[in-house]
């Protein structure tokens, strides 16, 4: 492709328009409130960002393959609850408890994937049911109460939720997880054979299958991956605040899907962008943070968030139409 043409297609790409909007938003918030770019506030944003961002990476791959997962918020809540219960009430070693949590997440993802691919029920219905089952399980085994706080530093806590300082900035190790997983996801989706398969499956499943691509297996593994990432994010969050609650992560599924589609990944499959998802995650995070700082009343947050998401989607749709016409 000639360079000029490539550049124009880059500028028209949805992730690019998201990036522009993100920069505009950041500028607006920074001008409206000087504290927005203060080390403390940036550190704060960066503490929350990875937790939803990590789930969004898995969701991007899943959406690109043409499926999605509504049970991630519930898994985010259940995994740490199970791990903490095993440690606090069962006297199980933290490493073993984490392993049990991992197995649980794998099982939830595998069940989602198997029902969707082998029985052929839409992922919307399957994972909606799974959301209820998983959230219900978290509430039942805790009787609805948050667990006692648990604050025993150790290898795993440092690994998932340790913190370090760069100058006046304080970062959590979860940021490294997010960066590392993002790079991996970019690699897989853009440069690896698997990414070619994922996009092809979401774009035209029959065509992919006709070329010998194991579409069902790929989808099942992506469901497992998404569940595991949701569990990982849940553990990071629980370790960071030294507590696990059965209602943690409520509503995260929609926030995560919003991050992904705002970044330019198509809800219908076939077109996914990890870069866009990172932009989307940053955008939603800074919106939530920024509107607090500029003094929007707390109860009005969601109005703003919703309007901005809608505006982004309209923009993507218009760009898409334009591209199709030219």
């Amino acid at each position: 492709m000639p360079r000029a043409k490539r550049r124009s297609s880059l500028i028209r790409s949805p992730q690019f328009s998201s990036l522009v909007i993100l920069i505009v938003l950041l500028a607006v918030f920074a001008i409206a409130d000087a504290n927005f770019l203060s080390p403390l506030n940036i550190s704060n944003m960066m503490a929350f960002l990875p937790e939803l961002g990590i789930i969004a990476l898995g969701m991007t791959l899943l959406l690109t393959a043409g499926e999605f997962d509504l049970s991630v918020g519930a898994v985010f809540g259940l995994a740490p609850v199970v791990v903490m219960l095993l440690v606090q009430n069962g006297g199980v070693d933290i490493g073993v408890a984490l392993l049990a949590g991992l197995v649980l997440c794998i099982a939830i993802g595998a069940i989602n994937g198997l029902i969707v691919t082998k029985i052929g029920i839409s992922s919307f219905l399957v994972t909606l049911s799974m959301l209820l089952v998983v959230r219900g399980a978290a509430l039942y085994i805790t009787q609805g109460f948050p667990l006692k706080s648990w604050d025993q530093p150790g290898f795993f806590v440092t690994l998932l939720a340790g913190s370090f300082s760069i100058g006046t900035f304080r970062f959590y190790t979860s940021l490294w997880w997010f960066i590392g997983l993002s790079l991996l996801a970019v690699y897989v989706l853009r440069y690896a054979k698997l990414g070619n398969w994922i996009s092809a499956i979401g774009s035209n499943r029959n065509a992919a299958v006709a070329r010998g691509v194991p579409a069902d297996a790929v989808k099942i593994w992506l469901f497992i991956l998404t569940s595991v990432l949701a569990g990982l994010a849940g553990m990071i969050s629980a370790f960071r605040i030294s507590a696990a609650s059965p209602v943690a992560g409520t509503g995260y599924e929609l926030e995560v899907i919003a991050m992904v589609v705002v970044g330019g990944t198509a809800l219908t499959g076939g077109r996914g962008t990890i870069f866009g998802t990172i932009v989307g995650a940053l955008m939603l995070r800074s919106i939530r943070n920024g509107i607090v700082l500029i003094g929007v009343p707390g109860l009005a947050y969601n109005i703003f968030v919703g309007v901005i998401i809608l505006a982004m989607l309209i923009l993507h749709a218009l760009l898409q139409k334009n591209a199709a016409r030219s």
């Binding site: 492709m1 690699y187 897989v188 440069y191 690896a192 054979k193 698997l194 070619n196 398969w197 996009s199 092809a200 979401g202 774009s203 035209n204 029959n206 065509a207 992919a208 299958v209 006709a210 070329r211 010998g212 691509v213 194991p214 198509a266 076939g270 077109r271």
Partner: protein, 258 residues
């Protein structure tokens, strides 16, 4: 020499017996045309051979060896390449990525599905391929398939089969939606691969094409093979009458006699 032999293939979809019993042999370097009206079971037959779904009963032999084709990958590994009627491309992928879908050239092969694509080879091979099929002047290997016309997509699918030109190439209505030039390209391609020793199974509704390229004709009706003839021994009218089931040549003789 026999390349592919089908024996008593049967396939039902619920109560629809799409394939009642099909047996035939495909020889090396031969173009066989598979004819029949809409719903006769042609696509069902070739989908069974190419591993899209398993047959209910019957055997498939490749080079005299009985084989079991359980997946499209099995068929490809046995050297059977198929271009399906409902075009087999992913619109959101580039031409180059579509051409090599499922057979991507990679570096660091030991990484399995995580192996990085060899993007340079992907693009070069794709361009060379497009040139060979005679559509390089218009198409860019990096262009998304969603930006192509129906005929262009068909050409891409055909060049893909050409690329991996195996023992058997199956084309399900390849000239549908194609312009004059592309149609000639396809027919030329069919002759080319035949001359290179490959076998072609060609499904089409255009009997003129059949007489241009096929060596043998097989006619299906309601899930069964009802006739098998060499092209040299028959003519257009006879074939047409076999397809529809009405004995038109007899009718013609009658009217002539009067």
């Amino acid at each position: 020499m026999e390349v592919l032999r089908l024996q008593n293939l049967q396939k039902s979809f619920g109560s629809v017996r799409a394939l009642k019993s099909a047996s035939f042999t495909l020889n090396e370097g031969e173009v066989v045309a598979l004819l029949g009206d809409n719903g006769a079971g042609k696509s069902t037959l070739i989908k069974a051979i190419s591993g899209v779904f398993p047959v209910d009963r019957g055997d498939i032999y490749v080079r005299g060896q009985k084989v079991s084709i359980r997946s499209t990958r099995d068929a490809m590994d046995l050297g059977i390449e198929t271009i399906h009627q409902d075009t087999s491309l992913a619109p959101d992928l580039s031409i180059a990525r579509n051409l090599f879908l499922g057979r991507e050239p990679v570096n660091l092969k030991w990484l399995g599905v995580f192996a990085p694509l060899d993007l340079a080879q992907l693009r070069d091979a794709a361009s060379a391929l497009l040139k060979r099929v005679g559509i390089s002047k218009k198409l860019d290997a990096d262009a998304l398939v969603s930006t192509l016309s129906g005929g262009e997509r068909q050409s891409i699918a055909i060049s893909r089969a050409m690329q991996f030109a195996a023992k058997v190439i199956i084309l399900d209505e390849p000239t549908n939606n194609l312009g004059v030039e592309e149609t000639h390209g396809v027919l030329r391609f069919v002759k080319e691969v035949r001359d290179a020793g490959h076998s072609v199974l060609l499904i089409t509704h255009n009997i003129h094409h059949v007489f241009q390229v096929a060596d043998r004709i097989i006619v299906m009706r309601r899930g069964e093979i009802v006739a098998e003839q060499t092209v040299a021994d028959t003519d257009l009218l006879t074939v047409e009458s076999i397809i529809t089931g009405a004995d038109m040549s007899a009718l013609l003789k009658e009217t002539r006699a009067k």
